[in-house]
């Protein structure tokens, strides 16, 4: 991994940021760069600041010190809609308005591309159709979101962010509510999008998923970065023990040959 001196290879980075909600400091003096074209997965125990970092990277949270840099400029300096055309975010919690249908919800992802006069262009329609096809929500298109299962609903939200068509895609626990098959399907989808050239940053809880899919892992602990690099290079028994306090054994994944974490009994 090369250092952050070449900013062209790091479109999105946080430099010495302090992140806080009111007086509660979540992270202090944190620096991290997202390599272009990477599939970066952020892992770490609950409440270690993963979501907060994602919120800062997508301009939802302005750091109280330090800056987040997007394409060489501080992210707060861009018009909000321009950021939203470059960085897409799937938040952990969203609210679907009562009575909204799938296609309508997915179409709302097009907001940063629209204006008062251009509310539904051909590009909008094509992007919505492509996003629904990619997430296999096309057959749900006319259904009420309220009536969907948790997994279907999650795929619809993913479709909404996809419709935003951003080169950088930040996903906060996208596999929550999904059964194992749909989790793998969603991660495959992320991998395909990544192969098409999109940079993906996802918060995941499953270390084995992280190791298999990520090209780059950021392990966080207590608001700081514990390790950062390709899974094969950083994922050690020591790291898992340090970050999660979980003794484990690491063997090569028989399918993908990536690190496979086998938890051991505590103590």
């Amino acid at each position: 991994m090369t250092d952050g001196s070449n900013s062209r290879s790091k479109r999105l980075q946080a430099q010495n940021v302090t992140l806080r909600y009111n007086q509660r400091i979540i992270a202090q003096d944190l620096s991290v760069a997202i390599p272009n074209g990477s599939f970066t997965v952020i892992v770490g125990p609950n409440a270690c600041g993963k979501s907060t970092l994602l919120r800062a990277l997508s301009r939802l949270l302005i750091p109280s010190a330090g800056t987040v840099i997007l394409d060489g400029k501080t992210i707060a300096g861009y018009p909000a809609k321009q950021v939203a055309r470059t960085v897409g975010l799937l938040p952990q919690t969203s609210a679907a308005p009562d009575g909204i249908r799938v296609a309508d919800l997915v179409a709302r992802g097009r907001y940063p591309h629209q204006s008062f006069f251009r509310q539904w262009s051909h590009e909008d329609e094509a992007a919505v159709a492509a996003a629904m096809a990619a997430t296999q929500t096309m057959e749900l298109s006319g259904r009420l979101v309220d009536e969907l299962s948790g997994g279907q609903r999650q795929r619809v939200w993913v479709a909404m962010v996809l419709a935003q068509q951003t080169p950088l895609l930040l996903l906060d626990e996208p596999t929550t509510f999904l059964d194992i098959a749909h989790q793998i399907e969603l991660l495959d989808l992320c991998q395909d999008l990544n192969a098409e050239g999109r940079t993906i940053v996802a918060v995941l809880h499953d270390l084995n998923h992280a190791c298999r899919y990520a090209t780059n892992i950021i392990a966080m602990k207590g608001g700081g970065i514990a390790a950062h690099g390709p899974p094969a290079a950083i994922m050690t028994e020591q790291l898992v023990e340090d970050v999660f306090g979980l003794p484990c054994m690491i063997i090569p994944d028989p399918v993908a040959n990536t690190p496979l974490i086998i938890p051991k009994r505590r103590g």
Binding site: N22, R55, S58, L60, P79, A80, K81, Q82, A84, R85, G88, L89, P91, Q92, S94, A95, A96, P97, D98, G99, I100, R101, V102, A103, D104, L105, A107, R108, G109, Y111, P112, Q114, F116, F117, R118, Q119, W120, S121, H122, D124, E125, V128, A129, A130, M132, A133, A134, Q136, M138, S141, G142, L144, M160, I184, E185, D188, Q191, D192, A195, E196
Partner: protein, 370 residues
């Protein structure tokens, strides 16, 4: 997107098939027409059910309006009503229809639309069908402002209107600031608003009790909300104000729908959620204040209209224009009933309170069951 050529999993192949099979227009689950004009410079999605419902609401308001122009102490045949509007009748009929009855009818419709819009804005902001301006204290605040003018300065119509305007705005600012904690969140607005509303209600009752009987009576009548005796000189200022405010609010309709997705999703799509909320509140408060200034606090229209409209158009979230038209129709119908339904002229606010009370009860029972 092009088909990536690496790692062709079964899932991926499946996806490509789906993409090919459904290349037609997107199924929105309702009838939608894509309108694109001037080489795509102007484009929108027209919802046919909303258009249909809107037309029917306008038509009904037109019918009730016509009947309302014809009825009264001097019943006038419908033919003569139309002739009077076209200016081809004798002066007596023209005076009754155009100068006496028409301004009141137009005011009822306009004020109704303003209430419907304002209610829709606050219900969207609070994501709650109870989040209407009369519940969260703005009407009570306007009444306080008006009472101060009536009781302390024995002010006339315009002074009272100004007092109501000021009272409503000050109350709204107070509710906003008290509910503010790094952004004003919906539910806090409701809770703080209900509290302020109760306090102002007590203050209002106390002020009326302190006043002379005559003044207290007129204050109480104003407090019910009434269109009695209003004419063109009250209509023009209202029209002018609405021409200024309504376009501002309608431009906010799209961002407002986006905000219904939650703050994080809205901000991630390029919205400044807190600024938008403030602008929506200013628009909603201005609309309520205009109505209260012109006719007193007319209750329940802003509470009921957005919910009735939602059910009519089966919209996602709250729809502004249908809510406005429903409000217009409701107040037009209520004012006709208040004038002619009971032998005596009642303040229209009494009508809306009685109808609205039933609606409110139904709403609370339904919410309680869920």
């Amino acid at each position: 997107m092009t088909e990536p050529n690496h790692n062709p999993s079964p899932v991926l192949r499946n996806r490509v098939i789906v993409r090919v099979a459904r290349s037609g227009p997107i199924d929105f689950g309702r009838r939608v027409a894509a309108i694109r004009l001037f080489g795509g410079r102007l484009s929108m999605r027209a919802d046919l059910r909303s258009l249909g419902a809107g037309s029917i609401l306008l038509l009904l308001a037109g019918v009730i309006g016509t009947v309302s122009l014809a009825s009264g102490k001097f019943p006038i045949p419908l033919v003569d009503v139309f002739r009077a509007l076209l200016g081809t009748t004798d002066d007596n009929i023209r005076m009754v229809v155009v100068e006496w009855r028409l301004p009141r009818l137009l005011l009822a419709f306009l004020l109704g639309t303003a209430l419907g819009l304002s209610g829709a804005i606050f219900q969207s902001l609070t994501r709650n069908p109870l989040g209407s301006p009369d519940i969260i204290g703005f009407s009570a605040g306007s009444y306080t402002g008006a009472l101060v003018v009536i009781l302390l300065f024995s002010g006339g119509y315009y002074a009272t209107a100004a007092g109501a305007l000021a009272g409503g705005i000050v109350t709204a600012a107070a509710v906003y600031l008290l509910a503010y904690r790094g952004g004003a969140q919906g539910f806090r607005l409701i809770v703080v608003g209900i509290g302020i509303s109760a306090m102002l209600g007590a203050l209002n009752a106390w002020m009326i009790r302190q006043a002379d009987l005559q003044i207290a009576m007129s204050a109480a009548i104003w407090g019910a909300g009434s269109l009695n005796g209003l004419g063109f000189e009250q209509f023009w200022p209202v029209l002018l104000m609405l021409i200024l405010i309504v376009p501002f609010v309608l431009v906010l309709a799209r961002p407002m729908r986006q905000l219904e997705l939650g703050d994080d999703a809205a901000m991630a799509s390029g919205l400044n959620a807190n600024r938008l909320r403030l602008m929506l509140m200013i628009g909603g408060v201005a609309l309520t204040a205009i109505v209260t200034a012109a006719a007193g606090p007319i209750a329940f229209v802003s509470l009921a209209a957005p919910q009735i409209a939602r059910r009519l158009v089966r919209a996602a979230g709250v729809a502004l224009v249908p809510a406005a038209l429903t409000g217009g129709l409701l107040l037009t119908a209520a004012d006709w009933g208040a004038q002619h339904g009971f032998g005596v002229q009642l303040p229209v606010g009494v009508m809306t309170v009685s109808i609205g009370g039933l609606y409110f009860l139904w709403l609370l029972l339904r919410e309680a069951r869920q």
